[in-house]
Subunit: 212 residues, 3 copies
């Protein structure tokens, strides 16, 4: 398997935890909005945080799954679910929408680039690899919405969420044909997705079909 | 793995493309009915076209998946999704319901027979193999409806859609105990499913439980 | 793979059949409530009976699946689906709610303990193994509710269903650090889940978050 470089272990661990917590938090919010109990809150948070990567690994037939290797993340979400009700009241006071969007955009970039990199390590053709990157980035939220009995938000709000991930995946693929190091390609592409996402959020860009 | 015979490569490629396009088209229609954006339209079309076969391959633990081997189909659906809005207006004018039903019936036959054949190649027992055939034929639509937040149509409309596939799968299994070639068994069973489906459509046959 | 002991083959077969039939029965009920046809009734019953174990085996990458090894169970559910309408009218007269809850509690205990045992045989870390036990016990019902277009009952009714399974899974894990035999640990933990479930049902215990 292709080595996915981890230049700054402590930094990437921090970012990884942030990305997972942001995913879990969006699961908490949706599960509580549906008046779920503690079992539902834990499950939906877990699915939101890990669903995209798990679906990618099942499609690629990769094992062990990320959360099997790192059960500490599952335990962390479990503990958070136990204290979710008071936690969320506090979090909503502390966290501005801006902060959540920024953290989510960072998570999207990291998950998508990790996805395309691992798909290429599994010898996927290029277009499929870019799809795997997008799946890793967005399917946590898709599965969350399916379990919560909603049409997936990312399929209907017209915000270019998946499309930012898609462009970043192709940027990563494109950079492999240049002289830049794989490290640089990974970080630059993830950063590009994050910035694209934030710009399109800031300017409220929408992509809708013409009415027909 | 058992060799699945492909007697006329050009013909089977044409039929394959038609079957996939019909699946994708039904995904387009449903996604647009739910007012999805381009990401949703692509994803739902993709899931409708490939979901049944992908679920079968995950259950059988077969890799690579069909659409990984043939990324051109994923790219085709991607391009179609980009032009889906004007495309669908045109298509609806060109395509009669009759034409869509015929193409869909052909796809059902081919997918189901391919599914049972591959399940037998993976040494599934007979009843499970027939289930895998039906799964291949119908679960694209089932997953489409789940993602679109509907009770799957094929489970509630009482039309003998899955049942036609089921009969054809057992016809294929039965023909293996005769002297006919595997080629003939495949094509005859697929044709039988298509004809059964068209006949039950023409005469509006329904299978409902007695009221209780 | 770790040997899962089967001390009394005839007894465990009886219990297994009962657990599967109870799962299938709850699928029948939900599918009929949604006015599904015979295809839907069979599929939903099948998913309810085998969905939890199948999801666990996909996550663990174990094959062959239980229902592939035992196609007689699939055939049994198929036959029951064909006669579901008159069957259910009769069953509802014969079966009291009490009987169904008891049978379901037995099934929960057996499925959960089997799940954690098989996850440990696949070298899962302890917390993940306990999650696999709970998944085996509850995800049949979760998938049933998703296919039936409902928010999964087990995530929102506040009844400590999954939590009973979770405690029993940890009891099984804990007993491995004592001198008791693996056989005893399995049966005692399954019994503990069943009793816990029945006690919480009897006293209508609920676990809800404080309102917030």
């Amino acid at each position: 398997m292709k080595h996915v470089p981890v230049p700054h272990v402590s930094l990437i661990t921090v970012i990884e935890v942030v990305a997972i917590l942001v995913g879990a938090f969006s699961g908490f919010v949706e599960a509580r909005r549906k008046r779920m109990d503690v079992v539902g809150v834990f499950t939906v948070a877990f699915i939101t945080a890990f669903g995209g990567g798990t679906l990618r690994d099942i499609l690629l037939d990769r094992r062990p799954l990320f959360w099997v290797l790192h059960q500490e993340y599952a335990i962390l979400i479990f503990i958070l679910a136990l204290v979710a009700a008071p936690l969320m009241r506090t979090l909503r006071q502390i966290l501005s929408e801006r902060l959540i969007v920024v953290a989510d955009a960072i998570g999207l970039g990291l998950f998508a680039v990790a996805g395309v990199s691992q798909a290429q390590a599994a010898h996927m053709p290029l277009f499929i690899a870019s799809m795997m990157g997008v799946i890793t980035g967005i399917f946590g939220g898709v599965l969350r919405d399916i379990v919560c009995n909603e049409v997936p938000m990312v399929f209907r709000d017209g915000k270019p969420y998946a499309i930012c991930a898609f462009f970043g995946c192709w940027m990563y693929i494109g950079l492999q044909y240049t002289d830049v190091s794989d490290d640089f390609a990974l970080w630059a592409s993830a950063a590009c997705i994050t910035v694209l996402r934030l710009v399109t959020w800031k300017f409220e860009l929408h992509l809708h079909y013409h009415k027909n």
